[in-house]
Amino acid sequence: MATLGFLAAVTVGVAATVLGLLGAVGRAWTLAVPWLVPLGGLELALDPLAGFFLALVGAAVIPASIYAIGYVGGERRGVLAYLGFVVAMCVVPLAANVMTFVIAWELMSLASYFLVLHDRQAGASARAAWVYAVMTHAGLACLLAGMLLLAAWTGSVRFADWSAAGPGLPAGARGLALVLLGLGFASKAGVIPLHVWLPLAHPAAPSHVSALMSGVMIKLGVYGLARASLDWLAPAPTWWGAAVLLAGTVSAVVGILYAVVERDLKRLLAFSSIENIGVILIGLGAGLVFRAVGLGALAVLAIAAALYHVVNHAAFKTLLFLGAGAVVHATGTRNMNRLGGLVKLMPWTAACFVLGAAAISALPPLNGFVSEWLLFQALLQNTRIARLELNLVFTLGLAGLALTSGLTLACFVKAAGITFLAVPRSDAAARAHEAAPSMRVAMILLCVVCALLGLGPTLVLPALAAIASPLVGGAPLPALGDWLTLRVSREFAALSPLALTTALAAALLAPVVLLRLAGAARGTRRYETWGCGRILQTARMEYTATAFSNPFKRVFDFFYRSEKRLDIDFHPESRFFVERIEYGNPTRPIFEDWLYRPVLSALSVVARRARAIQSGSANVYLAYILAALLVLLVLT
């Protein structure tokens, strides 16, 4: 039964991919059912940008659903919510008026809310779902405010009319609408500081759902941002582009700083999603700035790079979450300090996870490298803008992106190394089993996608540039070289993934051949790890996730503000005998402490004040209603 549901989801995914790809290459399609919902009816429209995101959703749903067949093992609960989630995500990019969009958006949020709540026993799930619901509805409130304002100003609820009327609006109104819509979409995308729900909700959901939430749902926030600033309210002002770029830089650096000290495998991946959204926004913001100052070709390049990173992140983050799910399924824990040694027990999962980790660390010749390389090239060309303050913003973006990529490497060396290598740190890890066949198929599928996206950017990028070009006012397509070599701004930079891969493969053969030619000894003796002469090697001698991230905790102490907690129980007879030692070094979250706590306490103060007028008597409430009515009548 559950399997049938997931097969249906696969079908939806295939259909969405096909329809989306048709839209992405320029096929237009509309559907209007005016009677179905009030205020404008149901209206769907397919254009290249919508098609791109629809194809993205569809393509991620296919492996996630195949994986789910083996992962849930016939449990029926949650299948309906999953299907609703998938369908809603497919409708969001297609929505062509406010009502359709809000219904699809809310259905997507609600369905994922129930999926976050899936694990009913865990108290953490309930809290995660609660925070998620609050944040997603705060975001929805911002979105609605922005959309209703736009509807009032333009006199239409159809998005197509907004694009036409947008340039005619006064600058202040456009700025206000951009900020409101930006806040709403950024909260769904998990941009810092609106990210608090993400590291709670994504790990709490079942892993195939986490994969979709991190891989594609937050990308729909990026879709909204792109749609609002490149279509509805185009051309966006320069400050908006710079703001998006800076928000992206902060998200990228802060997201990965939290990820690198995390010891919960799925939370680590969730924080890394915040980081990648930041990287995508760096590209989008750069594109917006380039467009605002009239550098169309560079704008297309930056946006195409951002879109490429959207695809790439969907591929490797889905892969990594599925891998993490297989680990959780096999061991029952997400705490990396209790994992280890899984490479021997679940070789397929380990190999897929290592490949995903290499891809997300932007290592050549995989896909992450290509999009980060493109982003660097787009950002480096900021010198063509002759405005010092914008150059400074770009320089910050460059330095932030570089620090992010270094920290990402550290983070995923830790995730892959501590989870899969060396000796199991607990009995649960020692008893792990390899993932079910359907789970393995899904992961291998995604590995192939990562490799192909790394090898064939010369085929994909022109299509992405064609999507980006009409969005920046029909700027001419930048010359991107031929099928073999990717070129950026003629002689500025070039990359040939195929030649690079060939060179790497040849160079990998070289030491094998050379060792043979040099007549190297071929014998190998298996022996235990050198332990300074100790007889026994145990898992307790290994580095843990906490130990691994200690240098980062010390270097960035001003950011983590970690506190040392040392709890020692002495023997009642003598202080020289210790019964129990407990050591903790938790970090204190900056945004929760400095932003959310003051807001929440202010809210509760207001609520307490408001209690004074809440007597609980129906007569008093009727009097309130009458008074409000009178005030309104007088005012209007």
Binding site: T395, L403, V413, L421, A493, A507
Partner: protein
Amino acid sequence: MITDVVLALAQALVGAAGAPLLAGVLRTLKARLMGRRGPSPWQPYADLRKLLRKEAVVSTTTSWVFRVTPYVLVATMLVAIVVVPVVASRTALPFAGIILLMYLFLLGTFFLALAGLDSGSAFGGMGSSREVAVAALAEPTVILAVFALALRADTTTLGGIVERFAREPLLAANPGHLLAFAAFFIVMLAETGRLPVDNPATHLELTMIHEAMVLEYSGRYLALVEWAAAMKLFVFLTLLANLFFPWGVPDIVEPVPVLLGLLALAGKLAVLTVALAGLETIIAKLRLFRVPELLAGSFALALLSVTAVFLVP
């Protein structure tokens, strides 16, 4: 095509065969400066030969990652040698830019750090953790130093930068250029594990980074790892020599200019090696948690260098 393959093989030969000599000369020079006789500069070759004849001992806790890593390391370094302008400003993979080069190094670091964890000993983990921390903190400096160079040369391809600066030497006579060189020099110290970041001559567990990661390697695997480390030093020094002082790098691939270019490279490398040996003789190793301050300093230099480009056009 044929020229490219020949060029690639020639560069790989020069780099791969010459790298151990560079490491040996550096070691001898240091010993002399410290008043010791020291080993012969050819000692690294003898070490490699000895290691190749020995049986490899592989820990039972390790997996395929541990055994694959030495090969990946050598492969990334070979490709790195091929993409850096060693004998001519034209390289076999003409598209190769400095960003690609840095990510090639990160590919090596990724595997080496995983291999360090794979052995399951505290040393390996310690080395991995420190290595990725240093690599992560060095990355922003590299990108900003590249940015400063790319700004002047209007390209990020290595060959293009070298060609541009060789054609217009005055471009290099600029405070920004020197600052970028200083920043890159510090990154080189960190990435190749030299003093004051790491000490290539010690096996003291509290201080070591690179040696801790590779502690579990032996026999042919250790030979490959050591060879790769020597090649990394060679690539970084060549990069410093040819990128910042591109005089004498021929822009055509013909026997005579290439030979002259090789001589010029040998001269520049000799100067850099003496400077490095002198530096390593007079300074002590930094405490591990002071290293970030050094790297922050190099970042500030790189940032100044970029600003200098904007302010002094």
